[in-house]
């Protein structure tokens, strides 16, 4: 993801990063509409405060913080839904576009990862943040970010291995 020139053309920049940002927001919120609200609010705040778009860690930290606020605000509903989820026939909008069954299996395996590993994976793979940036977003060390990423890949490999 090349950010050069992004600050001169926010529309193309936003179009480029929006799918990854939405995917990142959806690690906390289930609805795509709620995730879009969060991304919109974070991006607009980020822009209004005149931050440099190259400072991606700040933008992702803003999305994460707004998403966590949303979850806290909505915790009653979230608990109710989480309780019912096991037996519910709730429709969950997919996070990815699939070409084949193998991709579907991979996406399902990603969903099964622990959240702390999944968020690192999402930032690294689909948002192309560096470990330094990921560490800043999460307030952890660079080594911890790198090891969570490695654990995530190992877990995926284990899950996808034919029995």
């Amino acid at each position: 993801m090349e950010n050069t020139g992004c600050h001169e053309d926010w529309k193309s920049c936003f179009s480029e990063i929006a799918p990854g940002l939405l995917l990142f927001a959806r690690q906390w919120v289930r609805s795509a509409a709620d995730a879009e609200d969060i991304v919109q609010e974070a991006f607009v705040k980020f822009w209004r405060r005149n931050h440099d778009i190259k400072n991606r860690a700040l933008l992702y930290a803003a999305v994460r913080s707004l998403a966590l606020d949303f979850v806290r605000r909505d915790s009653r509903r979230a608990r109710r839904e989480a309780g019912a989820r096991a037996e519910a026939d709730e429709f969950v909008e997919p996070h990815f576009e699939f070409d084949d069954e193998a991709q579907l299996a991979l996406a399902q395996a990603v969903d099964l990862l622990p959240r702390e590993q999944r968020e690192v994976l999402v930032m690294k793979i689909w948002n192309e943040l560096t470990f330094v940036e990921i560490a800043k977003v999460l307030g952890i060390s660079q080594n911890t970010a790198a090891s969570r990423y490695r654990y995530a890949l190992l877990a995926l490999k284990r899950m996808l291995q034919p029995q």
């Binding site: 929006a18 990815f96 991709q103």
Partner: protein, 182 residues
Amino acid sequence: MSDLSEIENELRKLRPVQPSPILLERVAEAIGGPDPQAAFAGRSSAAARVFRNWLSLGAGLAAAAILLLLTVMKMGDGKRFVKEVSSISPGRETERASAARSETGSMAESTLRSRFLPAGATRVVYDARDEGLQFVAGSAQPLRRLRYQARQTLQWRDPATGASIRVSYPSEEVLLLPVSGQ
């Protein structure tokens, strides 16, 4: 590590779902102006931004005050209307009623002007109970009665303003399924 690079490559092939087409419009609108593209390039000074923030705060407060004033006036009008109804002639009553109708009509018109489009729907089933076989009067065969308790949430969004409406309500469904013995 080569195995892990393989899985990394597979992951990169997965494409995240694209945002809805209205998101860009909503962001553009929130940032302000029909074409805020130049805004990133020609960033305004901090003083201008502070001025703009105060200006929008002032405009917001003024709008809220006007709205409050109108509400108070309407409430007063409503009370007067109730008092008058008991003593007015049928002719005047009809006049009042037609005025009220035209007011309702204009509200409906403004609702029509705002284009709320469906943005999402969820249905969470909290409880599903099998209540066993039932013999309904007049029915030759038994029916299995299933009861579902769910919460449905519907969401609409106005692409022009970014405003959204969410309606959430509980629902109960009873299904009667014919049972045939073999």
